[in-house]
């Protein structure tokens, strides 16, 4: 009984090993070398992802190695054949005196061979490690002192016989991002006019938004930050001729900030002064307001192999009347489950009792249908779901661009 079991184990291992070996063997490229340097051949034979061949005709890669007579300078000349046709490369390698000459040159050859390996099925079998602490920006002369500016604008005109739309927009961004301080200044303007020709009239709808936001953030280690926000906005949708604010802010992130591409869990608080000047008189019979307001939010995000999660809850209120508040939660998950099953869910909800800018006059039918103006509400919500199941071949990697898509 024991013998049978042993035999089956042996066969299993043998099958797995030969299977893997055969699969590997097919993809391993043949290398032909021509070298006038002793001991190099044995060392190259040890490179696992190429197979050394004696015959130039069998080779997919040929490598000519020459060494300068007096110092440790090597010339490597790579040439590709067959699938690698046209991939040729030359290198000059200078080995430092303190280094093991053979070992160094082998390392260089291995890296140079990557250019060929990246075209084979073995290309995903490498682990490449770039030293994270090696920052390119260190020790650099920078005449702009990390400032980056961007200016842009666009015009968009569309139309047909009975309706047309004109959109104009422009922006100016300036930012300076260093590990210690981040400064962002954004200016943006947009103007949109839509015209609809109806049976007996023409409806024109205009949407305007001009805004400026600035923020200054100072880092306090890997978890804390503090700073200021300052901004002004003019918005026809919100009935605001001018909305201005200046608020200091603090933030704490449970995860170190350098993990932000993967995980964030932050608590963020700001409080300050807000000024509103209304285009039309509001339902509160006001033309302007000077107010003190605070905001608090908790947000979590994760971005991993299995998908993404975003979840946040935030609230704001005015100090002069605590019943004027807004509570919002935004949540979304996007899961890549097993097999080809993907699932996404989203849930947003707000409780609103702070529509200070709501105009006194009622919105017209056209304004409602065109979504042109803020409407009275005590809540808003959005629920989304998506489900995708893909099955079938996982080897269908062919591109066939005929007839477009």
């Amino acid at each position: 009984m024991k013998n049978i079991r042993f035999f089956i184990y042996f066969m299993l291992i043998f099958l797995v090993a030969t299977g893997l070996f055969c699969a590997q063997e097919k993809s391993i490229p043949n290398l032909f070398i021509e070298a006038d340097v002793a001991n190099l051949r044995e060392a190259i034979e040890k490179i696992e992802f190429v197979r050394l061949v004696e015959n130039m005709d069998l080779a997919q890669i040929s490598l000519k190695i020459r060494k300068h007579d007096f110092d440790s300078i090597y010339y490597l000349e790579f040439k590709g054949f067959g699938d690698f046709e046209g991939i040729d490369d030359d290198y000059v390698i200078k080995i430092k005196s303190e280094e093991d000459e053979i070992q160094s040159i082998i390392k260089n050859i291995e890296i140079a061979l990557l250019k060929y390996m990246s075209k084979t099925k073995l290309k995903n079998n490498f682990k490449i490690h770039f030293d994270k602490n090696m920052k390119a920006n260190k020790k650099q002369e920078d005449e702009w002192d990390y400032w980056v500016f961007q200016v842009g604008g666009s015009i968009n005109l569309t139309g047909e016989q009975t309706r047309d739309t004109q959109t104009f927009s422009g922006f100016v961004y300036a930012d300076r991002i260093t590990d210690e301080v981040r400064l962002d200044i954004n200016l943006s303007a947009s103007y949109e006019s839509q015209n609809y020709e109806l049976i007996d009239s023409t409806i024109t709808s205009v949407y305007e938004n001009y805004s400026h936001t600035s923020s200054l953030v100072k880092s306090l280690g890997d978890h804390f930050a503090y700073g200021f926000h300052f901004g002004t906005t003019q918005s026809s949708y919100d009935n605001l001729d001018l909305y201005a604010y200046i608020t200091p802010a603090v933030e704490y992130n449970l995860f170190p900030y350098w993990k932000s591409n993967h995980y964030i869990l932050r608590a963020y608080y700001r409080a300050g002064y807000v000024y509103n000047n209304y285009i039309e008189e509001t339902v509160y019979n006001k033309w302007e307001d000077h107010l003190a307001k605070q905001w608090l939010s908790l947000a979590f995000s994760a971005n991993e192999n299995w998908g993404t999660i975003l979840a946040s809850i935030s609230g704001s209120n005015y100090f002069h009347d605590l019943t004027l508040y807004r509570l919002t939660t935004n949540n979304s998950i996007d899961f890549k489950l097993f097999g080809g099953l993907a699932l996404s869910l989203g849930f947003d909800f707000s409780l609103i009792s702070s529509q200070l800018s709501l105009p006194l006059s009622e919105a017209s039918e056209e304004e409602i249908l065109l979504g042109e103006i803020l409407l009275e509400t005590s809540f808003d919500y959005s629920l989304t779901f998506g489900f995708t199941y893909t099955f079938g071949s996982d080897k269908a990697h062919v591109v066939n661009p005929r007839f477009g898509y």
Partner: protein, 424 residues
């Protein structure tokens, strides 16, 4: 007995052997070479939208990221094309300045439901592979290490599904506030099989959108959009320049007043450039004659409830992507044989050009002359339908012109990520 069969006393030996086979690794530490001592600047020119720049900057921090392509040592063009099971990405590396003529091309595949994180990781991995030929010529090679892992490489020729891929999808959203709400539902079913010789492409979808607007306490306006489509395209490749195929479509659409419509059209295409260069340039001439049967929900302005039609279509389209930018141009025309006056022609142009030093220009123009609106309902459209754009409206032309200009300048060393305060 059976339970202990594979995992009994021999377990450590098996695991040990498997580990030995699967994870036999060699570690290599890269070496200095004195050729180039300043930092490499790369410019990533992405036309796929998949590039997560912050993630790349975090993972590959030993190069600099140029904001102007002319400041770079390596210009990387990222393009993509669809495959049966997902997307093929192409990274094309162009060496400049000291690296002139050191070019490379790396491709990799992504499955249609890979996560964003898997996509960005694959992109970083392949970007690293492609940067080696440049880094080997610098002093920064000492900061790199390379490990080769002999691992389970499966035989790709064994495909029980024979390249058939099936996708089922269902999406929905429901949003609203006190006086308005919207429901959107969409379900899809796609079957694809893409090989070098053939392409089979079946896609079907059902879209249902409903919006309600409370105009006053007594009046509510409801708007419904209901669309069903089943589309099948089969393409046979004829060498690197020709394709032959057939397209069939069945459709019902509340937008276009179609209760039922069907189309059958054989088609032929010629591409001046080989299809293997399609990610960078394509110039195709595409022609099909088609038979239609249409059944209308409402009587049309031509007093029809249903009709058989015969028409033909010609398209000429050119696209190219180069280091300086991208150009797309296309023009197409169609007419019905029963009445030559029933036709449309259109022309579309896109120029997206990186002029100099961070200045980029985007120009888009589209013009269509439309004289084939056979489906327009006799009753016309109500004011609500016009404002909500839920039905097709009579027109003899449509146009779009857009112009965008953007200028980016400043520090060449904008590599730092500082995510504090995020999106407040």
């Amino acid at each position: 007995m059976k339970k202990g069969f594979l995992f009994s006393s021999q377990k450590p030996i098996i695991i040990y052997l498997l580990c030995l086979i699967l994870f036999f690794e060699i570690t290599i530490n890269a070496q200095d070479s004195d050729n180039f001592t300043s930092i490499i600047s790369i410019y990533i020119d992405d036309s796929t939208g998949a590039v997560d720049e912050e993630f790349i900057k975090e993972k590959i921090s030993l190069v600099n990221y140029a904001i102007d392509r002319k400041d770079s040592h390596v210009h990387v063009i990222v393009t993509s094309l669809s495959t049966g099971s997902g997307t093929e990405y192409v990274l094309e590396f162009y060496g400049k300045k000291k690296f002139k003529n050191i070019d490379d091309r790396i491709t990799f595949n992504i499955y249609s439901n890979d996560s964003d994180d898997q996509i960005r990781k694959s992109l970083v991995y392949n970007l690293k592979l492609g940067l080696f030929p440049y880094l080997i010529r610098t002093t920064y090679l000492k900061d790199l290490s390379l490990t080769y892992k002999k691992q389970n490489l499966l035989d790709l020729s064994n495909d029980p599904w024979d390249k058939w891929v099936f996708t089922l999808g269902l999406q929905g959203s429901f949003n609203g506030e006190e006086s308005t709400n919207t429901l959107n539902m969409k379900s899809t079913f796609d079957v694809d099989r893409v090989t070098e010789d053939w392409r089979f492409d079946l896609s079907s979808n059902y879209t249902y959108n409903k919006s309600s607007y409370e105009i006053s306490s007594t009046e509510t306006i409801d708007s419904i959009l209901d669309e069903k489509t089943l589309n099948l395209t089969i393409v046979k490749s004829l060498g690197q320049h020709w394709g032959l195929g057939v397209n069939g479509r069945v459709q019902a659409s509340s937008y276009s007043n179609l209760d039922f419509s069907s189309k059958l059209a054989p088609a032929i295409e010629y591409n001046i450039f080989p299809y293997s260069e399609a990610n960078r340039r394509i110039f195709r001439i595409h022609y099909w004659p088609g038979f239609y049967y249409q059944n209308y929900t409402e009587e049309t302005i031509y007093d029809k409830w249903s009709e058989f039609l015969f028409g033909h279509y010609l398209l000429c389209a050119y696209s190219m992507k180069e280091q300086w930018g991208q150009i797309d141009f296309s023009t197409s025309g169609f007419h019905y044989f029963h009445d030559y006056e029933k036709y449309y022609v259109n022309i579309a142009n896109t120029y997206s050009v990186n002029l100099f030093k961070g200045l980029s220009l985007d120009l888009y123009g589209y013009l269509a002359m439309i004289h084939d609106q056979l489906t327009l309902p006799k009753g016309g459209a109500s004011q609500e339908e016009i404002l909500l754009q839920q039905v097709e409206i009579e027109t003899s032309y449509t146009y779009t012109i857009s112009l965008g200009l953007s200028y980016k300048f400043g520090s060449k060393f904008s590599n730092i990520i500082n995510p504090r305060f995020g999106y407040y």
